[in-house]
Subunit: 148 residues, 2 copies
DNA sequence: CGGTATCCGTTCTGATACTG
DNA sequence: CAGTATCAGAACGGATACCG
């Protein structure tokens, strides 16, 4: 496992900087930033969103998350398990069966993430329109600009 | 405006595929996934969270988002501008002054993202504890396992 | 079935230099 | 101040092979 380098040490040293308008710590070495980077991860987000109430098997998840490789699903699930968001249950049967379910903590995160997914669904039209408008604008500007 | 209808409930036609438990489209080539990947981006998330109500200048943002390079801030802001989430205002003065502010659409996203940041703040202790427990467990298992 | 280990190309990112 | 351009290195992520 080459990734997963976690150096979660953060001590507030140095002179007090200007964090006037922002009440939460935006420093890259702070814990909130570390967790935010994990939670805001492409695959983590999808897995959390998919694991609603009902537990899913490894292969079920792999089939539902279109485009994820076995490797990335494993890595993602390990991280979520480490963070206490997902629980991994191994059943000692043949063929092997492993279930993944949200922990209580994971369920609270699920609510927040679901809100993000819902927002995206509801606003995808507006974003697509904005992109089209932006691209059109840039194209026109490009036409009227001298080439280097 | 024109996008009032969500077409995320139209999977129940023809042969019933396995979208039973998931009501939104999880295919990698769908629009929701594309937007989600952008919105769930490390830097986008921070910039949106920081741009609350008050507009900020390029350098202000750069100073607030600890660890971001000039390049990535530019790239992130261009994407957010293209998606219609952030508005870029150039003031024709010297020295140059460029303000970045949330659009109305960006403000609605800000609410959702702020919820994610708040969740992270409130639960960072639990996650840190889960990580410590996980690492301790793995260390003990590693000690009692034969080395290859 | 549910992984782990390894290789290796692609993408991302930061440092640097330069411009209006 | 607010960028753009370029480039090398790091991280990401997929393909493959193999194991319990």
């Amino acid at each position: 496992m080459e990734e997963g380098t976690s150096k979660s040490h953060s001590h507030r040293e140095g002179t007090g900087r200007d964090y006037e308008a922002c009440q939460w710590d935006t420093r890259s070495d702070c814990e909130v930033r570390q967790i935010l980077d994990r939670v805001a991860d492409k695959w983590s987000l999808l897995v959390i969103a998919l694991l609603d109430e009902r537990s899913l098997r490894f292969t079920e998840l792999r089939r539902k998350v279109d485009g994820i490789s076995q490797r990335m699903l494993t890595v993602t699930l390990r991280q979520l398990e480490r963070d206490g968001l997902v629980e991994r249950t191994v059943h000692a049967v043949v063929p092997p069966r492993v279930d993944y379910a949200l922990t209580p903590l994971g369920m609270t995160l699920h609510d927040t993430i679901q809100a993000l997914v819902t927002w995206t669904e509801e606003n995808q039209g507006r974003i697509a329109a904005a992109r089209a408008a932006y691209d059109t604008r840039r194209m026109r500007e490009g036409e009227s600009l001298p080439s280097p």
